[in-house]
Amino acid sequence: MSSLTIYKRELSSYFSQPTAYAIIVIFLIGSLGLTFTFGNFMRIGDASLEWSFFFWHPWIYMLLAPAVGMKLWADEQRTGTIELLGTFPVSTWSAILGKFLAAATVWLVALLLTFPIVITVNYLGDPDNGAIIAGYIGSFLVCCTFLAITMLVSACTRDQVVCLIVSVTVCVMMVLCGYDDFKMAVSKSAPSFVSFLVDLIPFVNIANIQTGIDQTAATIVEGVTSIGVWEHFRSLNRGLFRLQDLVWFGSFIVLCLLGTSAILSSKRA
């Protein structure tokens, strides 16, 4: 109930100011522009929109999603309204939920406004609309993941610029990790990096060292890929609903929101 009140306030704050409009317009220009230029939408006739359209979304979100989420707690702390919110009879958790959903709604509106491209593919060809819906869901989940990260960062600082810079950096890392070219570069350099570290430690057992290095390097590559969003985004993008992806997105978001709550209460102590 109080979540709903906060949700409404945040949403009207987004749409009573230029923020939401600017973001939505830039997103539409960006995503549709990239589709028709670098995405080669017309030439390759990609009716499922997988490569020409959805492929670009994480790249746009990593820059724009933090711009939507950065004010959520940073502004509240800068202007001191957190003291009002903290003395209203609402739990921190419902405030977090309301704010998060409001930011997500801005993005939902932005995504829905890309509908002309769906009409276009249906007019030009015979696409798998189920796959397109799956693509939209995947795209929205990636966006929500980045918003959750931004929210976590914004709870840490009262400065919106700091929040923007830090969360963009984290989101860029998450997009790059698990992107194929980047993965290749990591797997090439990981073994030499590990052996460099090993050289720094004296008295290690030289006999087993090579297999050790290879294993560690493989673990690093795996770890780096697993925090990336691509693996989970791709399968949805192909129209594949895998439980593990939904669980991954869901638990990542919930974890970030729990972290936000923990940071906010520890700040007051």
């Binding site: 100011q17 001191g80 739990s91 007051r268």
Partner: protein, 243 residues
């Protein structure tokens, strides 16, 4: 109605509030005096449930803010020191938001908002965006927010700060009037307000109570008949502290 029991707050190694105890009964207006940095705002933040106390407890209408914060918060109206507001809203919109978050709805909400606007003389700016308000009007808007749900306990941190002399007078009268049916705790740096609005006053210094009594008692304690003299005698001045 407000019972503060051994309230203590430590920031790192610094004691902002040390073992503070007092009560405010229904029908009482307690003036909270003290030099800058004495711990007045910190105490109020703990009573309102914004800051968790390091030790001790505060009870509002018998409900502990430590154990049952959401319940206690419904009983309190709070005006924070800096009068924070959401700048992107109008005065009317802001008050409506605060009313619905307090659980008011429908016509009750509308009535509450209109009553608060009337009490705080905000009719002229009701439709104005908050970021274009002058300081005094900002302060009054935040005060209106504290009165919306007709709380049993009012906690006001420097309610007359930044108001013009007419409005200072109005707010003092308001506090006096509301004080007949509620328990009010308010902090101030204007000693005349003690006589004008309070039924009792405490002076805190570096987190401890150094004087407590009705205005008449305090004036008697001072010996010279002036509250200022008492205040200067019982509180440490920064110059001494540095020495």
């Amino acid at each position: 109605m407000i019972e503060v029991e051994n309230l203590t707050k430590q920031f790192g190694s610094k004691h902002a509030v040390e073992d503070l105890s007092f009560t405010v009964r229904k029908g009482e207006v307690l003036g909270f005096l003290g030099p800058n940095g004495a711990g007045k705002s910190t105490t109020m933040r703990m009573i309102t449930g914004f800051l968790p106390p390091t030790a001790g407890d505060a009870k509002v209408c018998g409900i502990s803010v430590v154990d049952r914060p959401s319940e206690a918060k419904t009983k309190i109206g709070y005006l924070p020191e800096s009068a924070p507001l959401y700048n992107d809203m109008t005065v009317y919109g802001f008050l409506k938001f605060c009313a619905s978050i307090r659980g008011l709805g429908g016509s009750a909400k509308k009535d509450a908002v209109e009553r608060a606007i009337e009490t705080c003389f905000l009719e002229n700016v009701a439709k104005q965006s908050i970021d274009t308000l002058s300081k005094g009007y900002r302060h009054r808007t935040c005060l209106a927010q504290a009165l919306l749900h007709d709380p049993e306990v009012l906690i006001l941190d420097e309610p007359t700060d930044g108001l013009d002399p007419n409005q200072k007078h109005e707010v003092r009268q308001l506090i006096k009037r509301l004080g007949e049916k509620k328990a009010i705790l308010f902090s101030t740096h204007i000693l005349e307000e003690v006589d004008a609005a309070c039924t009792r006053a405490v002076i805190v210094d570096r987190g401890r109570i150094v004087a407590d009594g009705t205005p008449a008692e305090l004036i008697e304690q001072s010996g010279t008949g002036s509250l200022t003299d008492l205040f200067r005698r019982v509180t440490t001045r920064d110059t001494e502290q540095a020495a």
